[in-house]
């Protein structure tokens, strides 16, 4: 098989459209309407509580970091602030982008804009890229949010734990967006009516970073960047650690989220930072269910899903060997066993993607 072309203007994307793989109908576990309606109900209370806790902790940690600046005692406070800035902002961006975190729309929008700035994503562009990610999850040439491509680029992946490739990509893109609106690739998924907004957002971001730079020059200190900008680097590791587990090492070019997404049980702190996106099969199958209801959704449909990984470490133990195998065999992926209570994968439908490819269950990964 030819090497994958992940470009949104490339031949794989064209082929996905021609074969009906793009914008296809995806598998859903049957859930009674009354149960689903209950799970989809919106509420402001959980997200208000979590947002007060998040921003309160950020203010406290930053204040301590500034107060202790110049001593080693500031380090743990900056590390904690960084994770909340550079990682929790990813999940807030995500959930508020869906509009499901809060019941009240302006609250979703406010937290979405703040989080987008912190995670260095143009809030106008990325709203649309994520819609495409849900339409064509891990469809090569269609999904603009494929975190680990095949063969995996390990250097880039390791760099992402420090936000390096993303930051390197962000600033020139921000300037370009500010000067001329979306790039040609971005215009494939951002509707023309939103192009002006993409440019306005980029101008605002540029102004904030310019003001931060001016403050740093004025103070002759990097302290302003410790508060704005740099935490996207020194606090990115947690959202990358959890984010790569969402789809890493699993199938692509399929239309069943049980094949291309992963649910992982996590500790309460990681779940707070990640806002329950560890229930990732559930989230993709039913994106209207708010983060606070995902544990209940998991209980409702787990009979139809592969067994979740028991911890972050267990999930990495499943994913990492698969990624290493993909260096040599691009077609390799982990195919998890379904419980006897589940509806089977549609092998006939996925034959083009899964047919004769070397796949494995987690406990039977071939030796390298």
């Amino acid at each position: 098989m030819a090497r994958r072309d992940y470009g949104l203007l490339g031949p794989d994307g064209v082929r996905a459209v021609e074969t009906g793989l793009a914008a296809a109908e995806w598998y859903h576990t049957d859930v009674p309407r009354k149960v689903m309606k209950d799970l989809m109900q919106r509420s402001d209370q959980p997200a208000i509580r979590d947002t007060i806790l998040l921003y309160g902790c950020m203010i406290a940690f930053a204040a301590a970091g500034i107060a202790l600046w110049g001593t080693w005692w500031c380090v743990p406070f900056w590390l904690a602030y960084g994770v909340l800035y550079g990682s929790a902002s990813d999940s807030r961006w995500h959930e508020c982008g869906h509009g499901t975190a809060f019941k009240t729309p302006w609250m979703n929008n406010a937290v979405y804009e703040i989080a987008s700035f912190m995670i260095m994503r143009n809030s106008a562009t990325w709203r649309w890229s994520h819609a495409r990610h849900h339409t064509d999850t891990y469809i090569v040439g269609r999904d603009p949010e494929i975190a680990i491509m095949r063969p995996p680029a390990f250097i880039k992946l390791i760099g992402s734990f420090f936000g390096i490739p993303e930051v390197i990509d962000f600033f020139p893109r921000m300037i370009r967006n500010a000067l001329s609106g979306p790039t040609p690739e971005e215009r494939t998924f951002v509707p023309q009516s939103e192009w002006g907004k993409v440019q306005r957002v980029a101008i605002i971001y540029t102004a904030i970073y310019a003001a931060t730079l001016a403050a740093a020059i004025g103070m002759q200190s990097i302290l302003p960047f410790m508060v704005i900008g740099l935490p996207r680097i020194y606090g990115a590791w947690h959202h990358v650690m959890t984010g790569v587990l969402q789809h890493g090492g699993l199938a692509d070019n399929v239309t069943d989220h049980r094949l291309n997404s992963r649910t992982v049980y996590m500790n309460p702190i990681s779940r707070f930072i990640y806002w329950n996106m560890n229930y990732h099969v559930e989230h993709h199958m039913f994106p209207m269910v708010p983060y606070h209801a995902l544990p209940r959704l998991h209980e409702a449909i787990r009979h139809d899903l592969p067994a979740p990984n028991r911890s972050i470490a267990a999930a990495f133990a499943e994913m990492w060997p698969a990624l290493r195998r993909q260096l040599a065999y691009e077609e390799f992926f982990v195919k998890r066993a379904l419980p006897p209570t589940a509806k089977p994968y549609r092998e006939d439908f996925h034959r083009a993607a899964l047919g004769d490819m070397p796949t494995t269950t987690p406990d039977a990964i071939p030796a390298e």
Binding site: R127, A131, P287
Partner: protein
């Protein structure tokens, strides 16, 4: 061809603040029962991508698409939240006794 009134469902087929799918003549529609007891009808597929709205969530007078969380006012069909940009087609509805009819072209 003259518009026709077609029976879509019974009034108690739809809970208040909910919707059901109704297929007729090769097309698909969504029939809504609003919180204040009125009935409405729209095209059954989201204008963003061809997703059935019947699996979505009715909140007041809004229907939210189950795939991308775009929202429409189902009374007017107006697109209210990204990623939907194109309004939803609406159809006249009348209630006759315990039956809900929609007018189709």
């Amino acid at each position: 061809m003259m518009p026709q009134w077609i029976r879509a469902c019974a009034t108690d087929d739809i809970d208040q603040e909910d919707l059901i799918r109704f297929d007729h003549g090769g097309a698909t529609f969504a029939i809504y029962h609003s919180p204040d007891g009125a009935f409405f009808a729209t095209a059954g597929l989201c204008t963003h991508e061809n997703v059935h709205l019947c699996d979505g969530l009715v909140m007041g007078h809004l229907i939210e698409c189950p795939k991308h969380n775009g929202q429409f006012d189902y009374r007017t069909g107006e697109a209210k939240r990204a990623p939907v940009c194109v309004n939803l087609r609406t159809y006249p509805v009348r209630v006759d006794g315990s039956d809900v009819y929609i007018e189709l072209p």
